[in-house]
């Protein structure tokens, strides 16, 4: 009898030891940015399928859909605090990331965003990390490209004024482009705008020779056709990583032919770091088996690495106490991620060595043929060099 009780207790203890580690996932799984959040979740799921255990305990996701709104994101953050998760992965966009970061920092819960690029996100506090470059870098590179490679001197910037990503990136671009000696005019629109007649009229007198569109596809898919129609037929139009979204060429069609943008690098573009390129390639092979219907792009890799660094930090800390994991994350050096080596030590939570690639949409005139996303050869930039 005693032995049975003892055995039962032992079994109970083993069951407790096997209690899963819960990680919160706060992503845009519906709403306007659904095609940004979905690949990130798929990346995280694939990474978890590769390595689903830490400290001998299985890892479980508590997935929360923030509906692409800041309110939804804060609600998710509060839910995670109640659930007592060790850390939160997400969000995809900066507008959703910053308010959630404030809530989580206050509560002392770790947050690792795969793709929020507004510098303000990680400046919220020491519990907030990202595995992406920031927009100061992205804006500067875009300005450099438009001024030196595309030889544009007058650029019209379309900025979504109610979005932290778009607003920030437009500002950094303007600063850098003006510093190079170019002229910039910024035109604002709000999320959900479909009629850009007034905005396009605003830039007519300025007579730009290129456009910069640091926004998201729900609006860009409407903006581009109107730009082309309103007499800006040949000017180069360039965007940021928000355009790395099938909604752009799907929604806008042929006018996206030749549209260029900077975004998270894909495996081929990681050549600057051959080992990372190899890891990314291996991950892609695994991903295509694990998530056969998934979307593989730079966001997928970023999502996977957000998960990977959190697991590595828990392993290093040997504990799931947020404070200890946070300390391990802040010390993390040269973690071999699929987006390149990740080092948080000595940064504000934005690792160096982030590689950004240049892309171009190629949309054939026939409506039947599909579009393609081409990598611009030899055009990659590394953050923090």
């Amino acid at each position: 009898m005693k032995r049975t009780v003892g055995l039962a207790l032992f079994a109970l203890g083993a069951a407790f030891a096997q209690e899963p580690v819960v990680v919160g996932v706060n992503l845009e799984l519906s709403g306007r940015l659904v095609s940004l959040g979905t690949p990130e979740l798929e990346g995280m799921e694939a990474a978890r399928a590769q390595l689903g255990e830490v400290l001998g305990r299985p890892i479980e996701f508590s997935v929360c859909d923030n509906a692409s709104t800041p309110e939804g994101s804060v609600a998710c953050a509060n839910r995670f605090i109640d659930e007592g998760v060790v850390g939160v992965l997400g969000t995809g966009g900066s507008t959703q990331a910053i308010p959630a970061a404030e809530v989580l920092q206050e509560a002392g819960v770790i947050m690792i965003t795969p793709s929020s690029t507004n510098p303000a996100t990680t400046q919220v506090g020491d519990y907030i990390f990202r595995v992406a470059y920031n927009d100061e870098f992205q804006g500067e590179i875009a300005a450099d490209y438009l001024y030196n490679d595309a030889e544009a001197r007058r650029v019209a910037v379309f900025r979504q004024q109610d979005d932290d990503y778009s607003f920030g990136l437009a500002g950094f671009f303007e600063e850098a482009f003006v510093a190079l000696g170019g002229e910039v005019v910024v035109v604002d629109y709000t999320g959900g705008t479909v009629d850009f007649a007034a905005q396009v009229n605003d830039v007519r007198a300025f007579n730009p020779d290129a456009f910069y569109t640091p926004g998201f596809c729900p609006e860009l898919a409407a903006l581009l056709p109107q730009l082309r129609q309103q007499g800006f037929a040949d000017q180069l139009i360039m965007g940021g990583d928000g355009s790395d979204d099938a909604q752009c060429p799907d929604g806008g069609g042929e006018v996206f032919n030749g549209y260029r943008f900077t975004a998270f690098a894909e495996p081929e573009q990681l050549a600057a770091d051959p080992e990372a390129a190899e890891r990314a390639e291996a991950f892609r092979t695994f991903f295509e088996e694990n998530q056969p219907d998934g979307t593989f792009n730079g966001f997928t890799l970023s999502g996977a690495d957000a998960y990977n660094v959190l697991v590595a930090a828990i392993e290093a800390a040997g504990s799931v106490e947020p404070a200890e994991v946070q300390a391990a994350l802040a010390e993390l050096t040269d973690y071999p991620g699929v987006t390149g080596a990740i080092t948080f030590a000595g940064t504000d939570g934005t690792p160096a060595n982030r590689i950004m690639g240049f892309f171009e949409y190629q949309v054939p005139a026939e409506t039947e043929a599909g579009w393609a996303k081409a990598q611009l050869e030899g055009l990659t930039r590394t953050f923090g060099e």
Partner: protein, 394 residues
């Protein structure tokens, strides 16, 4: 639509005309001034005016739905923006995904022919009329055949979408509003908001979660450029199509309301539903008719909207802002009045696409103009520009 039959002594009020003339003169002066600076050309203002007309016509079509329903049952139908969304997406699935498999074709044809019967009944006066019944049967067979063998052009997709959306409007009234007849008006209003949310999310589930391309094969969306005073006006052929369709539909609607038996019943119900009922008017049917008409117009607006902008935003937001602005347009024009809705819509289009061309740096605020004007109108003339005097209703 709601024209009081009570003849009142006509008082000529000059103030509105003075204000109107003053505003027009100010705008003309501003245009002349900007032209004289040399930065802007006449073609620029012509282009802005054309795009204002385009947008204004679309707002007018949506606003008519608000004003019709308000005129009859004093309800601000907040789900109207979503009816507009259903119209746009229904037509998208009609031209992009046909030919359908037979079960789908039968299902869609069933709804569309119900709509067709309802449309015929507007003309014949009752649903059991032989013409209506024959039309329904022939329509059902014809639409089923057409949907299952051929790919629809956008015009047919638009017509069918109007019929289908009309039925959606009737169902909306039947399911959500009719059980609340006689309930306090606030209950109806809350139900309308709930239906709006319900339809947004149903759209996400049934239609799509993504930005949807809307590019049927048509030459109407081609770019149109013509020279004016030494420069070029950039627009598209939609600038002809949209006002034309709007004009056509508004004319039909006006004729219906003023010339047919059902139209007369609508006017009677608008004036006093209880007395109308006592006079033998089937008030529930009049209300259903009103929802049908408003939804048909909204569907037409949805199709034109998609054609004009080339893609549809995802269902949860597609109808939100256009719906709210068209509501503002209806109130500005005078809610309950048909010409008021058209004037309000055109005015909003003008405000959003022409006024930013006059003053640099106001573009970023253009989404607020509708509501700003709404506040002003509510303060100085709560019944709208040509609205009825509300006090006589109370």
């Amino acid at each position: 639509m709601v024209r009081s039959q009570v003849v009142k002594p006509r008082r000529v009020n000059v103030t509105p005309w003075v204000i109107l003339f003053g505003v027009v003169a100010l705008i003309a002066a501003r245009v002349v001034y900007l032209l004289s600076t040399g930065t802007y050309e006449l073609a620029f203002f012509a282009g802005a005016l054309l795009s204002a007309l385009q947008l204004g016509s679309l707002y007018a079509l949506i606003a008519l739905g608000y004003t019709l329903v308000y005129g009859i049952i004093r309800l601000i139908n907040f789900a109207h923006g979503e009816v507009f969304m259903v119209g746009a997406f229904a037509s998208y699935f009609l031209f992009a995904n046909t030919p359908y498999a037979l079960p789908w074709a039968v299902f869609t044809a069933g709804i569309a022919s119900a709509g067709l019967m309802y449309a015929l009944n507007l003309w014949r006066g009752k649903l059991s009329d032989p013409v209506v019944l024959v039309g329904g049967v022939v329509g059902f067979a014809g639409i089923t055949y057409a949907l299952s063998v051929a790919s629809l052009g956008w015009i047919w997709a638009m017509v069918l979408s109007m019929l289908v959306t009309g039925v959606v409007g009737i169902l909306l009234d039947r399911i959500a509003y009719r059980p609340l007849r006689g309930a306090p008006r606030i209950s109806l209003l809350i139900t309308a908001i709930a239906m709006s949310f319900f339809m947004q999310n149903a759209g996400l589930l049934l239609f799509t979660r993504n930005q949807t391309p809307f590019r049927p094969e048509t030459s109407w969306t081609q770019f149109l450029q013509f020279p004016l005073a030494g420069s070029t006006v950039y627009t598209s052929r939609m600038v002809v199509l949209i006002p034309l369709v709007t004009l056509l539909l508004v004319t039909i609607l006006t004729l219906f309301v003023s010339r047919t038996r059902l139209g007369k019943a609508m006017r009677a119900t608008a004036q006093d539903p209880e007395v109308a009922q006592m006079m033998g008017v089937n008030v529930d049917r009049v209300i259903a008719t009103t929802f049908f008409l408003g939804s048909v117009l909204a569907a037409a607006a949805g199709v034109l909207w998609g054609l004009n902008f080339g893609s549809l935003t995802q269902p949860a937001v597609f109808g939100l802002l256009p719906g709210l602005k068209a509501f503002a347009a209806a109130v500005i024009g005078g809610i309950g009045s048909l010409p008021g809705a058209v004037i309000g819509g055109l005015l909003l289009g003008f405000l959003e696409n022409f006024v930013p061309a006059l003053f640099s740096g106001v573009t970023e605020y253009k989404d607020t103009f509708a509501f700003f004007l709404l506040i002003i109108i509510l303060l100085i003339r709560p019944s709208g520009i040509i609205g009825e005097d509300l006090s006589e209703k109370v």
